[in-house]
């Protein structure tokens, strides 16, 4: 019997050099035989050397942070093996170039962004209204009497809101004429916001100027109850968490009456606004995916008197009851390691029951949006995205004709079917391009259209980058025009955008220029609002600057934004191309935030300036259409969030601290006075200041959380 001896196994010495694609050596790389202990880390000069007792066909693997894993099969039959390894950079989102033309993104992701999610909520003057906070960014015009987002010479309806990819047909609450509306959705619901001022992805459509893409929070992590006592109402919300699901419900009651009783208002309210709102959000993890549901209902009402300009004793009563329901169901999941699916459906019901001196006019819009998107990573550098959607809307308006006492109804049903595809390609960490297209079929206008979207970004150095975007965008005309003429084609805007930006850890600089060409705008033939065609056109061009610094002054974060806009339109009842009433040439904002530890408070100030806006003066000849300008708009707002305990926040904010009498435009009397002149009346703020106070309480087992992000 022979002794079984443990023979000395043959050894192989493996050595070599590790470099990157540029030929630079890489130290610290883990070079090893797969599934074995044998291996080593490359030295400062990139060289490595180790001995292995493994035999036969093995795999040599090299891994290092920021690079793709290298693997190669070798045959360990000889005593020595020389090896050259080249590692390829991994494109990760953290420091690769990013397409930023026409876009501001805020989120909790690790990527450096210009805005943080919390900025939307804590900007003074915004009173926790998303549009209000976005109005301090470049690219927006201040149209204070409206409260909506007006982007780069575009009308308020040209900016559309999307939640989890699904369209929201009416994102603003109802408002009395010439009083600002508020966004229906509060910042605290969202983990990420992407505000585009143009050139946005082929995935989104039906928005001529801007897409506001909001991503709602995923599954909540903590049970909590939030109670808010506000100067204009109260709300209660509760969040319940299970292992794979969470549910949040919120009920809110808003009654402005006590507040209006205290502070003089310019509007002659018969019954100031009262609203009841409920919302619910449910998340359920399913396999690798997540189902999200969000539902919201809101009933608001108010009534006021509009006084005639010539004789203020003559007044007309205006009553509004608005019923709103919104539901959004979405599902997102990874299908496998390289395919992702996002799918959803949303439903909007918006009903306005208006009475003008008790004569009813009812308007109702219902819409369903269904969409599916597939994303496929072909490699770590190329990603493809494509999908299809249907937006189906029913609109009806009915009014009582005073003469015949009959109810007249106008309605339309529009179904837009669309499909889109885009490819995102990283040539390297420094260069990325996104090319896409969008096809749309409109059942009302019977148009079939294809629109391109192209964008790219180039990062020549570590800090700065250039970005360019081009696209054609189209949108159905406003309901009030479409109802008179169902065959109107979509309005179009062609965007060209170029920017340069530098984002450091705590400082950001950005300069952006753009040109928009509008075509197929709704125009009245010979000024007759019932004879409409798509012969209107226009342009908008401008330059914008943005500077943000949260480093230089301790505990202070500030940003400064400036926009220059040059725009003209020949549309609606304009006799010729002229500057529209919502456009102002110069807009700038300074936002300042300071956390003062000694008083446990966050202080914020915002100063906004807009140069004068044009208005129509019927006393002037038509050659001087829109030639006059209002005085400039200026507003200094402030807010204080006081945190005495980590479950309690006391919040106070006030707009227009100086009490400046801002005039947004002038309305003229319907008839001339005895001198043959039309008399004007300024469109002003409903009150010289809006003062808001709130006490917010969070009850939760986890004592470290509070409602700070909710503000």
């Amino acid at each position: 019997m022979s002794l079984i001896t443990v023979s000395v196994l043959a050894q192989t010495k493996i050595s070599g050099l590790v470099k990157d694609a540029k030929g630079e050596v890489l130290p610290g790389v883990n070079v090893l035989i797969k599934n074995s202990y044998d291996g080593t880390s490359s030295g400062v000069d990139g060289s490595f050397s180790f001995v292995t007792e493994e035999k036969g066909k093995q795999a040599i693997v090299a891994t290092f942070i920021g690079y793709k894993t290298f693997e190669q099969e070798v045959d360990l039959s000889s005593k020595e093996l020389q090896f050259s390894i080249q590692l390829r950079e991994e494109i990760n989102q953290l420091d690769a170039v990013v397409i930023s033309a026409g876009s501001f993104t805020a989120g909790e992701e690790k990527r450096r962004t210009i805005l943080k999610a919390i900025d939307i909520a804590t900007t003074a003057g915004a009173t926790a209204d998303i549009a209000g906070a976005l109005n301090t960014l470049p690219g927006t015009q201040k149209v204070g009497e409206s409260g909506r987002l007006f982007v780069r010479g575009g009308d308020g309806n040209e900016a559309r809101t999307f939640i989890d990819g699904m369209a929201v047909l009416d994102a603003y609450g109802p408002a009395a004429p010439n009083t600002p509306s508020r966004g229906r959705f509060l910042p605290f619901m969202f983990k990420g916001t992407s505000f585009s001022t143009g050139g946005y992805s082929a995935e989104y459509g039906q928005a001529l100027s801007s897409a506001l893409v909001l991503n709602s929070k995923d599954k909540a992590e903590m049970n909590q109850t939030d109670i808010g006592q506000l100067s204009v109402g109260a709300d209660v919300a509760h969040t319940q968490v299970w292992e794979k699901a969470s549910w949040t419900g919120k009920v809110q009651y808003t009654d402005i009456r006590p507040y209006f009783g205290l502070i003089n208002q310019r509007v002659d309210w018969k019954t100031p606004p009262v609203a009841v709102e409920g919302s619910t959000a449910f998340r359920q993890m399913v396999g690798k995916g997540l189902i999200k549901f969000f539902g919201n209902f809101n009933r608001s009402s108010f009534s006021l008197y509009n006084h005639d300009i010539l004789d203020s004793d003559i007044k007309q009563q205006f009553d509004l009851v608005n019923n709103y329901r919104y539901g959004n169901l979405s599902y997102q999941t990874a299908l496998n390691s390289s395919w992702d699916l996002r799918s959803g459906v949303s439903y909007t019901l918006n009903q306005n029951n208006v009475k003008l001196d008790d004569v009813p006019m009812n308007e109702i819009e219902k819409g369903i949006h269904a969409k599916s998107v597939l994303e496929h990573s072909i490699s770590d550098r190329v990603e493809v995205r494509f999908g299809g959607e249907v937006i189906d809307r029913n609109y009806e308006v009915s009014r009582v004709d005073l003469v015949s006492n009959q109810t007249q109804t106008q309605s339309f049903h529009e179904a837009i079917t669309a499909s889109f595809a885009e490819v995102e390609m990283y040539a390297s960490k420094q260069l990325v391009a996104k090319i896409g297209g969008r096809y749309e079929y409109n059942s009302l206008s019977l148009q079939s259209t294809v629109d391109p979207r192209i964008s790219l970004a180039y990062k020549p150095s570590k800090k700065g980058q250039f970005s360019f975007a081009y696209g054609n965008f189209r949108q159905s005309p406003k309901n009030q025009y479409l109802r008179n003429n169902n065959q109107l084609a979509s309005e179009q805007a062609e965007h060209y955008i170029l920017n340069y930006q530098i984002i450091n850890d705590r400082k950001t600089f950005r300069i952006e220029g753009y040109y928009k060409r509008y075509s197929d705008l709704v125009k009245f033939t010979n000024g007759d609002p019932f004879l409409m065609t798509n012969s209107g056109k226009g342009y908008a061009k401008g330059i914008e600057l943005f500077w943000r610094d949260s480093q230089t002054i301790k505990n202070v974060d500030y940003w400064f934004s400036y926009s220059y806009l040059d725009t003209k339109r020949d549309y609606l009842n304009y006799p010729s191309a002229a500057v529209p009433t919502f456009a102002s040439s110069h807009n700038f904002s300074i936002v300042y935030k300071h956390f003062v530890k000694a008083i446990k408070s966050q202080l914020g100030f915002t100063y906004s300036y807009s140069s004068g806006r044009p208005y129509f003066n019927p006393n002037l000849a038509s050659e001087k259409f829109q030639s006059e300008r209002t005085p400039s708009y200026q507003d200094l707002s402030a807010n204080v969030s006081y945190l005495p305990k980590n479950w309690l926040i006391i919040y106070v904010s006030c707009t227009n601290l100086t009490g400046r009498d801002n005039v947004f435009g002038y309305e003229y009397s319907a008839q001339p006075n005895s001198n043959g002149e039309y008399v004007s009346q300024g469109v002003r703020q409903p009150a010289s200041r809006f003062l808001f106070m709130g006490v917010l309480i969070t009850l939760s087992k986890n004592k470290s959380i509070n409602q700070l992000p909710n503000l």
């Binding site: 443990v6 610290g28 074995s36 202990y37 992590e221 986890n702 004592k703 959380i705 700070l708």
Partner: protein
């Protein structure tokens, strides 16, 4: 024939003992390296070795655990925020692999919380809300899994100190947790020869905040 089989069996068991011996030797050497490593380069070498051992062994959570620990130490020494996040991502990958092997080990859950805690420090203003919640949840769960785990208590105390500092409120709760953590360090026992033993120095430093 019988003797041959016996010798074969003995040789094989000797070899596997030797393998176990090799495993323990490599682990102990690299565990000390991640405890004592001063530079990112030193820590990188130890983490590389631990990753090799972990991927070769496949059924042991300890190599992944210490690889994560080493990556967190590298993150602590890295000044650039993007690279810091990169090391924390690697630490999380290692922790996930450790969790897949042993999902109820208190030390692994506490390490995951530790990663969230360091992640928070990269950008407290933005990440404070999200990651403090996640870290607290982890430490709560780790203490539930093993109330004797001093590291989970020490990390919880650190979070509590942070919250107290932010709100300018007294640190009574945090100090209570620190005292408890120090007690548990004295009594901590484990049958696992590779059980983590770090954290006492860090906890004693915390205690200085309490007078």
């Amino acid at each position: 024939m019988k003797t041959g089989t016996l010798i074969l069996a003995m040789t094989i068991s000797l070899m596997s003992l030797a393998n176990d011996g090799k495993y323990l030797e490599v682990m102990n050497k690299n565990i000390e390296a991640v405890y004592k490593g001063q530079t990112i380069e030193e820590l990188q070498q130890a983490v590389n070795t631990l990753n090799r051992v972990a991927d070769a062994e496949k059924t042991k959570w300890e190599p992944y655990y210490y690889s994560a620990f080493g990556s967190v130490m590298m993150a602590n020494r890295e000044k650039d925020a993007i690279k810091k996040d990169g090391y924390l991502d690697l630490a999380l990958v290692a922790v996930e692999k450790a969790k897949a092997i042993n999902e109820n080990e208190s030390e692994i859950i506490a390490m995951e919380g530790f990663i969230h805690m360091i992640r928070l420090t990269v950008d407290p203003a933005t990440r404070g809300q999200q990651y403090s919640g996640m870290a607290m949840q982890n430490f709560g769960k780790a203490i539930e899994l093993n109330p004797e785990n001093p590291r989970a208590l020490s990390l919880l105390a650190q979070m509590q100190f942070g919250t107290a500092r932010f709100f300018n409120s007294p640190a009574t709760e945090a100090c209570g947790t620190v005292t408890k953590a120090l007690e548990k360090f004295e009594t901590f026992k484990s049958e696992n020869p590779l059980a983590p033993v770090w954290g006492k120095g860090m906890t004693e430093a915390l205690k200085k905040n309490c007078q």
